[in-house]
Symmetry: C2
Subunit: 318 residues, 2 copies
Amino acid sequence: MTLDEILEEIKRAENIVILTHESPDGDAMGSSLAVKLMLRELNKQADVIIPEYHRMFNFLPSADEIQIDSDVEKYDLAISVDCGNFKRLARNEYFENAKKTIVIDHHGSNNMYGDLNYVNPASPACCEVLISMAEYFGIEITKEIGTCIMTGIITDTGGFRYSGITPDTFEYTAELIRVGVDIPDIYKRTMGTKTRANFELMKRIMNRMELLEDGKVSFTYMTSQDELEVNAEPGDHDGLVNIVKDIEGVQVAIFIRQKDNEDVYKVSLRSEDGINVSDICLLFGGGGHSRAAGALIKGTIDEVKEKLMKEIRKWMEL
Amino acid sequence: MTLDEILEEIKRAENIVILTHESPDGDAMGSSLAVKLMLRELNKQADVIIPEYHRMFNFLPSADEIQIDSDVEKYDLAISVDCGNFKRLARNEYFENAKKTIVIDHHGSNNMYGDLNYVNPASPACCEVLISMAEYFGIEITKEIGTCIMTGIITDTGGFRYSGITPDTFEYTAELIRVGVDIPDIYKRTMGTKTRANFELMKRIMNRMELLEDGKVSFTYMTSQDELEVNAEPGDHDGLVNIVKDIEGVQVAIFIRQKDNEDVYKVSLRSEDGINVSDICLLFGGGGHSRAAGALIKGTIDEVKEKLMKEIRKWMEL
């Protein structure tokens, strides 16, 4: 059983580092800190290394212990959470240099890049994978661990809204409320409150949105100049793609965001049933889930749009 | 026990009518149809009379049996759901003419206008009040009843986000999923998908939003002309107030909507902890919950804004 081997490695390790994907979202942040706190219950100290994250996550227990860097030679065990492949892992040199590596994840596209891999694609969030791990290891879920875990579940399910949530998700939530986890507070901090910059970006992408293919595809974009003008911080663009997805009749939503003032765009695709956007993103070297995926594509706004539309049209004809 | 008396009246009644508040939201719609279906389990037929509602609720079980009118002399029992006072009740002539009346609600401001009143202000939704009623009456919650109930819970808690939700809410949800209720589907139909008109209105109110009092108050408006221009249907403005509430630093959000091209505005106030907007709305003859309330105020946009700001400033100084 993988979990026995994972526990064995954790017990054996002297210096442990926890890593997650670039541009970490609530599930990445929550998973990283939940694992750190869970290891503490096993009397193991671990460093969480995350080079950059949105200040909205500062409320998470032990967020003040996150490091942006450390000594790359130091670790005998590296644990990656919520990250489907090595390339996307932030500070992956720590993973590369560690003697042993563990991958804990829920992405269906995970390519099992660790020595040990505990991946459950049926879980709506990596944080939900951690619940079964904690149960198996006999770790009591404290209010602090629970707060991290619920942050991942709430944000990755869009607030309990996406398919993949099960009765278990709701029962875990009930249990976590009973140990003191404050759901409305987490909701407000992570999904409820927009920064002013986020609000301004939202206005811009809405005003610019085009409906294509008889309203079946929505397209919008954001430039580096936009981010500069509204004083955006990392993460201020998070969730914007959903604004143009949740419109009657839209089957695929495209949101592209310019990278560093260059002719390169970070693409976010979202879809309703039927169109697998992970497959489309794979064509461009990206990946993700069937209904939420991303890639990096070179070109101007119009070129990137046309490249994507060419593939999306093929899928829509199927 | 009120519930025993309520059951007694239901059993005694020959002709039952179910009513709810004007501009019915998900909790009003869900409660009305859930009560109808629950009465069916008790072998009682009941009419639901709702003069106008948004087509997004057409997916609700038995929605096709909703009547816009009937014979006002016909009913010996009228049941009002999710409505705090008689004035707000749509088609309240049916309530007035019924021999017996029952009020089932969760509004703290409910003024107990029925012969029998079953009001639980601790419940986050009227639909959650119905769960305890069903349990007490020994009514099995079917997939259909559960779909109506979850619609009220999801919409009135903003998708499990507002305070007032308890572990019970999540456990009920887990149970309802097990009887076949499709949470993501309800979410998508009621909260996830915006109509195009709603999206256009959202753009307008965002572009117009002002931040007042050092960003502690947000203000925006919508005119009858707006609704005409975007082909809005009843309910297309629902939820817009939340767009201007969920901004960092905003303690009170004001959204005013012109009524029938006149100098009269429907006011929606939302607040964070501390400021009781129900009290402010009461001053103008309205009411609601402490964090979500409404009123009808005469004047131009600027006049209505100033009337409200005068009261809000008083509260902010407390």
